[in-house]
Amino acid sequence: MYRYDQYDQAMVDARVEEFRDQVRRRLEGRITEDQFKPLRLQNGLYLQLHAYMLRVAVPYGTLNSTQMHALADIADKYDRGYGHFTTRQNIQYNWIRLDQTPDLLADLAKVEMHAIQTSGNCIRNISSDHYAGAAADEIADPRPYAELLRQWSSFHPEFLALPRKFKICVIASEADRAAMKLHDIGIRIVRNAAGEIGAAFYVGGGMGRTPMIAPCINPFVPIDRLVTYCEAVLRVYNRHGRRDNKYKARIKILVHELGAEEFTRQVEQEFAHMLAQDIEPPLAELERIAAHFAPPAFETDLDESIDRADPDFALWVDTNTVPHKASGYVSAVISLKPVGGIPGDASSAQMRLMADLARQYSFDECRVTHTQNIVLPHVRKADLHALWTALEAADLGTANLDRAGDIIACPGLDYCSLANARSIPVAQQISQRLSPKSAELGELKIKVSGCINACGHHHAGHIGVLGVDRKGVENYQLLLGGSEAEDTSLAKITGPGFDEAGIVNAVEKATEVYLAQRSNGERFLDTYRRIGIDPFKEAIYG
């Protein structure tokens, strides 16, 4: 994985000391909250429902065990012994003291981490496929490209005050495991007919109050023009994106209002102009970065067999491991969704265990997924039973990847000052209700948001739940038919909302319609797409 060079480290260290001075001045009363707020937000420090919340960047979700250990230590030293892994492959701490934040950031910097650009109208943490470098179906490891874009976008002076926040995703497989088309820029690394590497650009996707699926504006940008093309897209957005209305300020609105064709024309025009400026870093720089992502020393001639005598272990293997590019290995998914648990939360003890297991079984690497789980990307099949045994003992061995209990849920009104309704209790109840039927239901992606901002990805759920405030009372709308995968679609609202108990019942009724109507091994989503929304509405509303 990428290691900071002297410039990276110097920048991050300098930023910590700069913020230390800013905090000192705030505590001394030399600057007001209005003056301080943008400064703390530039360092990922929010004021949330109960306290300050710090969002820490995990670039493309990749962590080594030292970093995961450091995150656990921070949870104990500065928070209340746990952290929350998010749908942006970040981690958030919910109980941070302002006066301790500079020390916390200094501790992060010691392990090459920071919270810069995790807030504000700038280019945010770049996300990627959590199986990058391991997936059997990828054409390249997407992370060197994501890292190149991270270096380009960090502190980029032209893009630190965009009309709105900006999210970039890089993948390198036909399968989309990162919600690529629901980003401001989604990049798929591809090969053309000549076998050359390039980047397909999808621009203007996103969820929130106006969900959009990004159209492809260029199917093949030569890889030695990746940064230049990104810069061209950002320039057009920065020039024309709306600053008069924050609800219409994301690039998806610009693409929609101009039309994809006209937007593309303007990007291509800017791109042509920029080619003459030659801003692209030399390919040698990409190769230098790529060397940090060289595959680990996989063993060869490994035993492919797995002893499935223990049925609980066999279920976990079948559910929570995925194929690997190297024979004898798999990627193993650690579920942060125990039945009835809080999606994405991990205690410091669990984080330390995951770090130790990554060191022992996965070449020192783990990944944060956008579905709020942790992946050990390179595990020998022969080690799976020992790994699972350790996970089980720590309540981390739930076999529910992409099943009914593997629910995405934002922090909701239990933590978030923007939320209108609680998400976590709804997710917990759905998990408890449907988990016993998990095997029967098969792949089922349920996503819960506590407000229209859609941090819980409800638009992309096979079943989505949106919490709203109805005259001071929590109310929940049901949505069906969304997907964030390569078959991206946006879910539709079924009808009037429900109270907390009602929405759990409604979700269960939707699954009953599926079970009654499915044929030939269809997933819930397939059945929905075949029969449409009406049979579901009829069952739910009578």
């Binding site: 909250e33 109960h50 109980w95 929590e474």
Partner: protein, 99 residues
């Protein structure tokens, strides 16, 4: 009634205006009446509280002050899904106070 809430500048903890100081417990809050906005501004200027604002309060059946809206009741309590992290972790009925 109008009650005033904010966050402690250093810790970020949710605090409530008692009439002469800030408390971590909403039950200590008083009706600040028509002076609420002025008190909030004065206290913020003196750095005794961060980001104060005035909300509607009510008195519950037990005679305790609480916010009228669920959002601020959760804010006063702590997360409903983690009783151990609330302001009254030993109270098994604390969750019902919110709804």
């Amino acid at each position: 009634m109008k009650i005033i809430t904010g966050n402690d500048l250093k810790s970020g903890a949710v605090t409530w205006w008692t009439g002469y100081e800030w408390s971590l417990h909403v039950a200590d809050a008083i009706d600040a009446g028509d002076n609420a906005e002025a008190i909030a501004a004065r206290e913020e200027a003196a750095r005794r509280v961060n980001a104060p604002y005035v909300i509607a309060g009510e008195v519950n059946a037990e005679g305790n002050v609480r916010p009228a809206h669920i959002k601020d009741r959760i804010r006063a309590l702590g997360p409903t899904v983690r009783p151990d992290l609330t302001v009254k972790p030993a109270d098994p009925a604390i969750g019902t106070w919110v709804i």
